[in-house]
């Protein structure tokens, strides 16, 4: 999807204080949940809430640095790229997300082809 098109889709999903530091919340969609993560230094990231391994809900994992450890079998997924940390292989789809002041805007159009 082109960036221009996805810009039409920005949705306010909440404020940063809705998510605990080093935590995650989900945005529920008919097409499947999107996990929104907040790191220790208040960066936010959005990934499809599905581990590339066996579909575990990444939103339920432990966030550390800019990674999340999947709750089912402890794969580590990079929040920035959605890619599983080597030697594991796989990728969770990313969604554009931005913070304006306190408000979180999410685009429902994944920025990854694999979405």
């Amino acid at each position: 999807m082109s960036v221009a098109k996805s810009q039409d889709q920005w949705v306010v999903v909440g404020t940063i204080s809705d998510i605990p530091k080093l935590g995650a919340r989900v945005v529920r969609l008919e097409a499947g949940d999107i996990a929104v993560f907040r790191t220790a230094d208040d960066k936010i990231f959005a990934l499809r809430d599905q581990c590339p391994h066996k579909g575990g809900p990444l939103s339920q994992g432990i966030v550390h640095g800019d990674r999340v450890a999947c709750p089912l079998h402890d794969w580590k997924i990079s929040l920035n790229s959605g890619i599983a940390v080597a030697p594991d292989e796989g990728c969770a789809a990313r969604f554009p997300i931005r913070l304006e002041g306190e408000t979180i805007y999410l685009s429902l159009q994944s920025s990854d082809v694999a979405a």
Partner: protein
């Protein structure tokens, strides 16, 4: 900022391992140059033996090929010998006259083979066994010549001799004493070794002292002091090694037998470091790779300016890499007046084991024929474990310690490639061996990461370790003497616990700052551990860090493979009532719960629940008095009971009542791993109390207390602790036992492995024999329980932690899109 220049002299195992460790910590601190005399990248020197024996090729033993240096921005000056270090100008001069400046220097020049000073030692055909060049020379000689003489019947000599015989030569090993490998083996083991090597066609000349090597241009014969001579087309000198310190000495760096370094691997010139076989640390030099890896870690840490980690010396063990011969040796195996020898010998099976024991601690071990338990003995020796509790059986190995289930007594060597090693992840022997050889894995963690074997339930860890040892050879004794809790730190569990206590650390951040964590906020392994240690140490202060708990403990339910949850309410002592059953039935119907299951812990589980419905369901269960069963926690789980004296014709005491009292006292407490109890009304033991963390077996005269059992992966029956007379005493002992386990075990270490580590004797001393200590432990437990016994379900049913259970936002199509 300009990078500093790091120059490494020696492109061998220790030098490059240090560079690798350094690159893991930082890639932009240094411009790195490596000067290496050998004309290759870095290879696994210890694998030269299998190369000589034709079991491996040079390509298979390369650890870092030249592309690796390019990829990592490391400048490699290969085939160049460093001839001078100018400490004033801070530069290194190489043989071709070029000059390389450094800000910091690392010397890793290894050692050189000792060449005995006899005439003819420089003839063609006289070689040592140290590098690829030597192996090439031997292979060349083997191709068109007959007689090989190996001088030296130690580890290296025997591996060389074995290789040469595989290459078709006739081989004689000449040894100066009457016993092979006398620095590693006692006489019986050495005799068995000699016999089986003779069986493979090796000849031995024992007690023979070489006087001269004779020949015109090329070696022809070897002559001994007694005048005898033997034919030789090839002579391999394998009589020992000397640390390579000429360069350092020339630069006036303080040397003894090796280059003297302190615990941070610095030489007397603080900008110059040294690692590997060339160093002398606390008076010792090393000739095996395991210590080098530990040195490399510490050195890299200091080069990266983290400034933590000290090298405190290593304990090493030896194995011989001759296929088909299993031999293991560690520590002091000869003993003295104060030691005992435990010996097992079965000559016809070719099995020999000897342990040297002092004050119930293992001081040394020699094994021949069957070495599967070598790692276990080595661990017991290194940890100085008190073996009195299993001394009777210790020679039979770990698999015989009163457990069934799959222990690691399988012989990995004889297993077929398709044999399944890891049942959880379906990984076969072949997969693991392939990963180890192709990806050059050295450690258990590496194998876990690449193959997933042993990364789930862990029951196959012993087998995977055995496979590693078998595949990579002797160097896999590499387990560091102090195990760090995870890759974020070099500190062990015990270090961290004492730092929390002594420095009064009260948050995860404070621990990480004070102990110099390497990652910004830990990982999924260390954070839950630190969180537990904090709440255990400071129960009253409410330090629980929610985000450092595993999802089950955050959601107070168990996550399932499809992302739904299961919920198990507490049924005190395994009892329930019509009211509770009705509440469960109603909830199950109302929320269309698919599976209702009677658990192995005497209670009822509801499966497939949606997360957002949990607080409502809990609210309804609460109304019937049902509270959390903590089936999700590293916490007190269940207390199983039988009906006992109230109904049973054999019952001696009221085990049901006792079980309920135990559960009332201990529910809600967090423990290093899960903690289960049971109380049986008589020795028929229907509640299975003897495979629980804490079990009570009622007898006519009172209550037998049993500790350290579990079912699970590796069944362990409990050890008998003592017998007490009253219920009140049972409660006190239980509280004291739980508390000592809570305060001293490592996170995720269940009572069974904990007791095997510290010894039953220790626990008895602290709890049975020391009344004052028992009472104060019990008091600390009861005190900490004051802060733990709130039903977490009730709190959440009333609206606590709302964010955990509700989506941040629900979006239905076409409604919520905003224009920006």
């Amino acid at each position: 900022m300009a990078k500093e220049r790091l120059v490494v002299i020696g492109n061998g195992m220790a030098g490059i391992r240090t560079v690798e460790e350094l690159l893991k910590l930082t890639t932009d601190a240094y411009d790195i140059t490596v000067i290496g005399e050998e004309p290759y990248g870095n290879y696994n020197r210890i694998m030269l033996s299998p190369v000589l024996a034709g079991e491996k090729t040079i390509d298979q033993i390369m650890l870092n090929d030249e592309q690796w240096y390019i990829d990592n921005n490391v400048r490699l000056m290969k085939g160049q010998r460093a001839i001078e270090i100018d400490r004033v100008k801070r530069c290194v001069v190489t043989q071709d006259g070029s000059v390389t400046a450094y800000d910091r220097l690392l010397i890793a020049t290894g050692s050189s083979p000792f060449i005995i000073p006899v005439s003819g030692n420089d003839l063609e055909g006289v070689v040592s066994f140290r590098d690829i060049k030597d192996v090439d020379a031997m292979l060349k000689a083997a191709a068109d010549r007959q007689h090989a003489v190996v001088i030296g019947g130690g580890l290296l000599g025997l591996e060389a001799a074995n290789g040469l015989i595989q290459q078709g030569m006739s081989v004689t090993v000449v040894h100066i004493t009457d016993s092979l490998m006398e620095r590693q083996l006692d006489e019986p083991a050495a005799a068995m070794l000699r016999k089986s090597l003779e069986g493979r066609g090796l000849n031995f000349l024992m007690g023979a002292q070489t006087e001269a090597i004779i020949g015109k241009n090329r070696v022809e014969r070897v002559r001994f002091k007694d005048g005898t001579e033997i034919y030789a087309d090839l002579v391999v000198m394998a009589v020992g090694i000397r640390p390579n310190i000429e360069l350092a000495k020339l630069a006036k760096i303080h040397c003894g037998r090796g280059i003297v370094v302190n615990d941070t691997m610095q030489t007397f010139d603080p900008v110059i470091y040294a690692v590997g076989e060339c160093v002398e640390h606390r008076g010792l030099t090393y000739g095996l790779v395991a210590p080098l890896f530990e040195m490399a870690k510490v050195c890299a840490n200091h080069l990266a300016k983290y400034g933590i980690g000290r090298y405190e010396g290593s304990m090493t063990s030896t194995k011989l890499k001759v296929t088909g011969i299993d031999l293991f040796s560690a520590g002091d195996f000869s003993g003295n007046d104060n030691t005992d020898e435990l010996v097992f010998q079965d000559a016809s099976r070719g099995v020999y084991r000897k342990l040297v024991v002092q004050d119930n601690r293992i001081k040394g071990a020699v094994m021949y024929g069957d070495t599967i338990d070598g790692t276990w003995y080595f661990d017991l020796m290194r940890d100085e474990t008190d073996i009195s509790d299993f001394r009777n059986n210790i020679l039979f190995g770990q698999a015989h310690l009163g457990d069934s289930g799959h222990g690691n007594d399988n012989r990995v060597a004889s297993m077929s490639a398709s044999a399944e090693i890891c049942g959880c992840n379906g990984v076969c022997k072949g997969d693991i061996v392939k990963a180890i050889t192709e990806k050059k894995l050295f450690t258990l963690d590496d194998v876990r990461a690449h193959t997933k074997a042993s990364s789930s339930c862990g029951s196959c860890t012993g087998l995977v370790e055995a496979l590693l040892a078998h595949t990579v050879g002797g160097e896999y004794s590499a387990a560091p003497s102090k195990k760090p809790i995870c890759q974020c730190t070099d500190h062990s569990h015990d270090d961290i616990r004492s730092a929390i206590k002594e420095q009064g650390l009260k948050s995860i951040r404070a621990i990480m700052d004070s102990l110099g964590w390497k990652s910004s906020d830990g990982c999924s392994k260390c954070r839950p551990a630190l969180n537990y240690y904090l709440i255990c140490q400071w129960p009253a202060e409410g330090l629980d860090d929610y985000q450092s708990r595993f999802i089950n403990e955050r959601a107070h339910a168990n996550i399932q493979k499809d992302g739904t949850y299961s919920v198990i309410p507490r049924m005190w002592g395994g009892g329930t009532s019509p009211r509770e059953l009705r509440a469960i039935a109603e909830v199950a119907e109302k929320y269309q719960i698919k599976t209702v299951h009677v658990t192995g812990g005497q209670r009822i589980a509801l499966y497939g629940l949606k997360k957002e419905e949990l607080p409502k369901i809990w609210g309804e269960l609460n109304q019937a008095g049902l509270v959390s069963g903590h089936a999700y926690g590293k916490a007190l789980r269940t207390v199983k009971t039988c009906v006992g004296r109230e109904w049973c014709r054999f019952g001696t005491q009221d085990s049901t009542h006792l079980g309920i009292e135990l559960e009332k006292m201990s529910w809600g407490s967090w423990t290093p791993h899960k903690f289960k109890m049971a109380a049986s009304g008589c020795p028929r033991n229907c509640a299975e109390a003897t495979i629980k963390d804490f079990g009570v077996v009622c007898v006519d005269s009172g209550y037998e207390l049993h500790v350290g059992g579990n079912g699970g992966i590796k069944v362990r029956a409990t050890d008998y602790l003592c017998t007490v007379k009253t219920e009140a005493e049972v409660l006190e002992y239980t509280a004291a036992y739980m508390q000592i386990y809570r305060e001293e075990a490592h996170y995720l270490e269940r009572t069974a492995p904990w007791i095997e580590r510290v010894g039953l004797t220790y626990v008895k001393e602290k709890i049975v024999e020391d009344e004052a200590n028992r009472k104060s432990l019990a008091a600390r437990f009861i005190e900490s329980q004051k802060y733990m016994q709130d039903d977490p379900w009730e709190e959440r049913a009333k609206g606590g932690d709302k964010h955990e259970f509700e989506p941040m936002k629900t979006i239905t199509p076409h409604k919520e899109t905003v224009e920006v």
